[in-house]
Each structure stands twice: as C-alpha cells, then as structure tokens.
Symmetry: C2
Subunit: 502 residues, 2 copies
C-alpha cells in the first residue's frame, strides 16, 4: 500500500498570480470548475494573496462574489486562501476585531482552509487570525516563510513550527516563495517538524519553481513525511510559478507514494488553461525559465520586476545589478527578514533608494517602521544606527510588543467611512473592501454595477498590445518611422506619394 499524498491546486490563485500578474478574470475560470471539483485535489487555492486587490483594481469584480461563485461551482472541494496574518490582504496591521471580522466573513462566504503567514515569521502576528479561524471551525494552517540567511537554520524553523502547533494549527505550511528550498533542506525540515510536533502533524509544502530544483524538493519532502504538496496545472506552471501537477502525479508512480488525482480530468484542466493563457500574454512573467542566481541573491522573481520598474521610472534601469547586490545588505541591516509581501517591497525599495540617493540618505516611512518594530520582530539584530535614524525621522520610539497591541478598535470607524462611499452596499464585506484598499474601494464601489471588466476590455487591450498578437493582427497600423511610398488615387488622378515621419 502506498501512502496517499494530498495535492493543492494553485492555478486559480498563485498560478496566475505568479505567471500572469494576478490578472485572470473569473470568466476564464468558471468553465473548468466542474473538472477541478472532481479531479481529486486535497484543496484548491482560489482566493486571497493578491487576487482581492486585482479584482477591485483591474477586473471590476467583487472579490466576495468571486468567492461565493467558487463555493457554488466547487461543492466537493476544500477552498483555500492565503492570508497575510495581521495584514489580512492589505498592507498595514489591522486591529484584532477587523481580523476576526474578515475571517468570519470569509468562512461564511465559503472558505475552508486559511493559510496564514507573516512576512517576518513573527508568530505573534499570526495569533489573532489563527484563533479566529479556529473559532469559526475552519482549517487553520500556520505558515513558515522559508528563507536563507546565517540565522535561518532547520532548528529555528522547527521551533517556529512548534509554536504554531501550540497555537492549535490544523496543519503547518512551509512556504518557499523564492524557490530556495533545496532537496536536502526540504527533507531535513519536514523530518524535523514531524519529529518535534508529532508524526500526525499535517505538513503542507508550498514551493515555487523559479530555480528549477523544487520538484526534487517535493520528492524529498514527501520521503520525509510531507502530507500535502502544492502544484499548478502544467499549462500554467514553471518559471516563477509552481511545479506542474501532472509531473507530480507521474513522479510518484512506482514509489511508495501516490495521489488520488484523475489524470483524464487533469488533461482537461491543462487544455483549458493552455487556451486561456495566451489571452493574458501582456501580463506574462519574465521569469519563465530557470534562475539559479536566486540562490545567491535570495530575491524572488516578482521583487526583481518591482525594482526594475522603480529604476526605470528614474531612468536608471542600468543600475539593477548594484541594486541586486544592495538587497542582501539592507536585509541584513533589517535583521534578516524573509523577502515576501510586504517585506520584499520594503527592502527592495530601500535598496533602490540606497543606490540612487546614497546609502540610507533617505529612509522610506515603511523601512523606518520596519526598523522600529512596527511590522513585528525579526530573527536577527537590527542596525542600531538605523534604529536611531528611524526614531528621529518618524519621531517615535522602537517597540518590541506585538504591533497590533498598539491599535485600538477601528471597525465602527471603518464602517462609517465605507457607508459614506457612493455604491457601497452596506455589507460587512464592503466595509472590509474599504478597510483593505481605501484608495481603490471608492472607484470600485462607484463602478461595480458595470460588471466585470475582463475580455471585453482588459483582455482586448492586452491582446492587441502584445507583439505576437500585433503581428498576427492584419488591421493594426503603427506609426511609420521611415519613408513609405503609396500609389494614391484622388478622384480620377493617381499619384505616387511618399509619406515620411514628421
């Protein structure tokens, strides 16, 4: 008898978030839900992460309506989401009451499995969300962000897993967002967690495929006892995305492990997303190959793109190598924080500023707050000089308490702010949309009634702008850049006319 390995399908969330900038519209997912529902997955990740933001910012889709639709179309499936602990899906710390409310509403609308992480691996930032998930009787998955540094040892990660187990988590996730977890470490880590927390502790492994080695890491994690692994259907896999679901299934054939996945349904899912993908060509990640340099820089693919675009805005795109070299320094000064939303953006932006303006000549507000402990505790010691500079700049003292302990109840105020926005429907869900994205919510509420902006708008544009699409389209006319001669007839007269750029 082989041991059954659960599989979480990522294509409806992290798959397109990693490869297509989170742009996939609901209408491109709906038609394949029946196959996904019956394929035999342990769970289907379909919400959270950047999808909420993308829904209201780009797609004019109500994220809560998206969740309800998945619930309806995937009746036999555990729905799973990614939740940034005390940040929820936003970019600041929320007070505990808002965290509870968010979890309750997500559960009510159909969410089953809550994968909860904190960018700094500060377990105190996970307490509130994990307790809320347990209160509503759903699956609480405590998450360890995997990263490498002189301080990040297997022992340290195992200690964190023990803390998560003590919180009553239903499973422990190892989240390797930059594909840094080599096979041997994957083995040691899963083995260590099983030893420390008990062999019946569910261990769930999430790896990206950017460095090309992590399917092997999944094999080793499984050999060490991992219970559930994450993959994305092959037609939306690899690069800065994830390992292909079908390859995982085939990899295990003949071993002491197997999955319950139905290969014929996987084929249909593959074909569906193979058809859908080219429509999002404009949003394709640049990281579709194998990038092992990440082992040295520890910088996830998405973070590099961000820094490149920041440099470009300053006309300094040539300085990317200096910035890449600066990131590890900034990370060290900040106490070796993992690089994942939002710490990746904070560290990346500061590295860009250090290169462009001089080392720490300017501190971003977020970086100063990170240095003062307002995002939580880091594993390493922070630069004393930078703590001093941050204190001076922000005119506030460093803290070592849980950041959310400093916040006072904010729900009622958020609620009255939301209700004042034209188009707000008065539900708690709308209040949460406003709470998470106060800049974007007003426009979304005002235009929500127009319905999803997908194929007819976003995609049409995306399609036309893509070079391949352009070349294929016979009606595209681009500005000329060299003289062109036409035979032109005006009335009865024919002229040879040469047109050149003005």
């Amino acid at each position: 008898m082989s041991r059954n390995i659960g599989v979480t399908e990522l294509v409806l969330r992290d798959g397109h978030q990693s490869l297509l900038a989170t742009r996939m519209a609901m209408e491109d997912m709906v038609p394949i839900c029946d196959q996904i529902d019956q394929a035999g997955y342990w769970s289907v990740e379909c919400w959270g992460g950047a999808t909420y933001d993308s829904c209201i910012r780009f797609l004019n889709e109500d994220p809560w309506e998206r969740l309800r639709t998945f619930r309806q179309l995937l009746p036999n499936t555990r729905l799973q989401m990614l939740l940034r602990g005390q940040n929820l899906l936003g970019y600041r710390h929320y007070e505990d009451g808002v965290v509870s409310r968010f979890v309750e509403k997500a559960a009510e609308n159909g969410m089953d499995v809550f994968r909860v992480f904190d960018a700094l691996n500060d377990v105190r930032n996970l307490h509130s969300a994990i307790r809320a998930v347990r209160r509503v009787g759903k699956h609480a998955e405590g998450t360890i962000c995997y990263t490498t540094s002189p301080l990040h040892t297997v022992e340290k990660f195992v200690e964190m897993a023990q803390q998560l187990c003590e919180l009553g988590c239903d499973s422990i996730c190892i989240k390797d967002m930059a594909a840094l977890m080599r096979p041997q470490v994957a083995y040691d880590l899963v083995h260590g967690i099983k030893q420390a927390c008990g062999s019946d502790t569910l261990v769930h492994v999430h790896v990206h495929s950017t460095t090309g080695v992590t399917l092997v890491s999944l094999m080793k994690a499984i050999e060490a006892g991992a219970d559930i692994v994450d993959t994305s259907i092959s037609s939306l896999s690899l690069g800065s995305g994830h390992n292909p679901t079908e390859a995982l299934v085939e990899m295990l054939v003949g071993t002491g492990y197997s999955t319950s996945l139905d290969k014929s349904r996987l084929l249909k899912i593959k074909e569906h997303f193979a058809e859908v993908r080219p429509r999002y060509a404009k949003f394709e990640s640049k990281y579709i190959g194998v990038e092992t340099q990440i082992f040295d820089s520890q910088i996830p693919g998405g973070m590099i793109s961000n820094m490149e675009s920041q440099l470009k805005q300053q006309g300094a795109e040539k300085r990317i190598d200096e910035v890449l070299a600066e990131v590890p320094n900034v990370r060290k000064d900040a106490g070796y924080v993992p690089l994942v939303t939002p710490s990746s953006q904070i560290v990346g932006t500061q590295a860009v500023l250090n290169v462009l303006m001089g080392k720490y000549k300017t501190l971003t507000r977020e970086f100063a707050e990170l240095m003062l402990g307002y995002y939580g505790a880091a594993i390493g010691e922070r630069s004393a000089k930078l703590i001093e500079a941050s204190t001076k700049q922000l005119k506030k003292e460093p803290i070592d308490c849980r950041p959310a302990d400093l916040l006072s109840s904010e729900w009622d105020e958020l609620r009255s702010q939301a209700l004042a926005l034209p188009g707000c429907n008065g539900t708690d869900e709308d209040v949460l949309t406003h709470a998470l994205f106060p800049q974007v919510a007003p426009k979304f509420f005002a235009h929500r009634a127009e319905g999803p902006r997908n194929l007819s708008q976003n995609l049409a544009t995306a399609h036309a702008d893509h070079p391949t699409a352009k070349a294929a389209s016979k009606t595209t006319v681009r500005p000329i850049s060299s003289p062109v001669t036409f035979q032109v007839r005006v009335g009865m007269n024919s002229h040879k006319v040469t047109v050149e750029p003005a």
Copy 2:
C-alpha cells in the same frame, strides 16, 4: 566527503538539436568555448546525432572542420559524440569497414567519448562500432535506449547492460529520449546495473525533460550510484530538451553528492546562450512546456512534429489524434521497438499511412525492412501477417542474422563515387560525408568554398520571420488591410488622403 558526480554538457549538440532543430551555427558556439572548457564538465557533447546532417544540409559547414575547431577550443575537455551504431550518422546499415573508418577519423579529428546506440537495442548492431572505438583507444560508451512496453522490464535492460559490459564498454549509458524514465525506475535500473556489472561500472544517465519529472529521476539515479549525468545550460534547457545544468548543481548542495562545476562560468555560459537563442526563434521546438501525455503514447516530441508535418502535407492535420492512437499498435506489431531515430520515423510514417490509407494497405519500404529484420532484432514477436506481406512486397526473406553481415565491403566504391563529385577534397572525411548523405553531399561539396551560411543568411531569415522580431522592428511595413488616412503634403499643398487595399 561527498561523492563527485560527473556532468556532460549537452548544449553544443543535443541541447540545440532538441530545442532549435539542430540549427545552431558554429559562430554562435565559438565565443563561449573557453568558459565551457574551464567549467569542470566530465565531457562536452558537441558532435554526432543530427549535427552532421544539419552542417552540410543547412549551414554549409564542414562537420569535420567543426569537430577540429571544438578540439582546438576545448583543449582540456573530453569531447563526446552520439553515434547510431551500424547506422553511424546516416539512415542505413553500413558495412563494418566503413564503421571502422568513421570511428578512426572521428578519433583522429579529436573525438574522445563515443556514445553508441542502436534504435532496436540490438547489441549486435553495436559490436562493430564499440570494437573500433576500443581499437583506437577512445572511450566506448554502450547505450541502452530506455522505453516502456509490457516487455521492457528492469531485468531485460540490466541483461542488455551486461552484454555491453562483456563487449568491453568503458561506460554504460541509459538514454531516455522521450523522458519516460520515472524516478523509481531510474533508481531500480541504475541499482540493477551496478549490481549486475559491478559497482565500478561507470553509469551515465541521459534524460530529456519533456515530461517534467526527469530531474527527480536524475536525483534517484545518483542515489542509486550513477556516476555521470547529462544536462544542458539553463538558457537552452527544459521542454523537449534537457534538465538545466545549474539546477543539477544546486539540487545536490547539502546532499552526499556534488559536482565540480564552476558556477560563475556556468552563469557566463547561460548568458551567452540566452543571447543566442532568440536568433533561432524560427526553429524553436513547440515542446517547451511539460507534456505528461507522453507516458501514455510513448511518443517523443520530435516524432509528433514529424507526423504533424506529414499529415499537413496531405491536408489531414486534424487526424493527429487518430495517428497518435495508432502509433502504439504499429509499435506492438513491430515487436515493441523503442522509438528513436530511425525507428521513430519508420513507425510514425507507417502510423500516418495506416490512418490515411487504411490499416497496412500500404507498407513503406523501411517498415517492411524493419518487419523482415533488416534493422536488427526486436524485443517482441513481430506480426506474422505483416512479415508475410513484407516478404511479398520486397521480394526478400526475413533474416535473423546481424544485418551488416549481409553487406560486402563498400569503401572502395564509396571512395570512387565521392572522388567523382565536384568539390570533393579527396579525404576520407569527404568520402564519409558522401557515404552518410549521398543526396546532400554533392551540393555541399560544390558550395563548401562559400563558407558557413549562418547569420548572414539562415539566421537573418529566421529573425525577420519571427512574429516578435517583426513587431519589434520599427521599419517593417506590412500591407494594409483596411482604409488608413494620412495627412499628405505635396509641395505647398496639404491633402487628407485615404489609402485602402486594392
């Protein structure tokens, strides 16, 4: 102490053969040879397979000159080639004298490691080449073509390895051209060979990456004792190509195995081929993703493209699924031959004919010869009915001897034929070019003096034809297909002029 794993770099031969239709011109390889030479590879595959054909057919390059150049530019490196046993690099069986002559000339021009395989795994077809390699004191690598069928068991493959060892091979290669070797089989096979042939038998593993699982297979092969593995630098890897060299290096970090490769040199090699690759965009394989359906059809990617193009010529491209379903039937009737050059072409073409003309209504000459044993012995029983039909059609009896035993000495005749061709330089190398490609050699000899046809011709065309290249080029003007209005000034007068397609 970790065990050192040798690595063969494939980018100069199978890497571009699999991903860029073997089209890479020597001038795109020369500039990076110094880095390759010092990177620490066990060997560098750079010749044989389809490169000889491609050199004279498409690139107007003398393949022997290419070999000598590699020898000069890679002075510290074992040069490796792929040799199709008694077929050499051509598509028929050659008499033993020609086989010896080819091996001698290859050794003289700088070849070190001869990987010798037979499409039918008929060891008798390897005897002559392996003996010749041993005679000239070079490294003879006997090769097992891995495939799956009810008859292809680990035991059968291990038996073949034993036969190769008895022939005095310096190493045994497991060649998995369709990426069908799952991790557990890789382990069992390497383990079995080491057990049967002795633990000091060098085992060399060659896998393609088409199905997405074979980097894991390499890990398992290494755990079972494999000594050398094949990879291709990441910027020309994956899809129907091979696993990325850098990923192999990183995968082993922290395990009991390591490579001697220099990562900084690998990065330079990667960057070089990342720049070169887009110039061959026209020749890019369609198989750059993960295709696990191959586990069911057993059909290598290159073979599918062939069949698709045959169907297209008949205006029957829609019948590809019928053909894919027919291939396993034809393969069974032929005694479960592996599918690799030339058996893949023979079986594939017959499957196409069966679908288009009716089952075995027409037999190709090659298929009939395969059925009668003129390519060698197959592992399974062949269809008696088809043997009868083949006998009738070809008016010759089935054989069970080694096919080359029926051939009489042919060198002198090949030599006088070659010398009669304008432009033939009278060397044995030229006689071999004529012997291998009698259709192509005359044109090549006649035009050789014009020099390599690469960037200036082949590549320029390839570049201009590629849609992305077209879109990127600002001076491209394509025919208009809808009315366009220009403001045109002729002399002092300005006119609004509308131009539309004639």
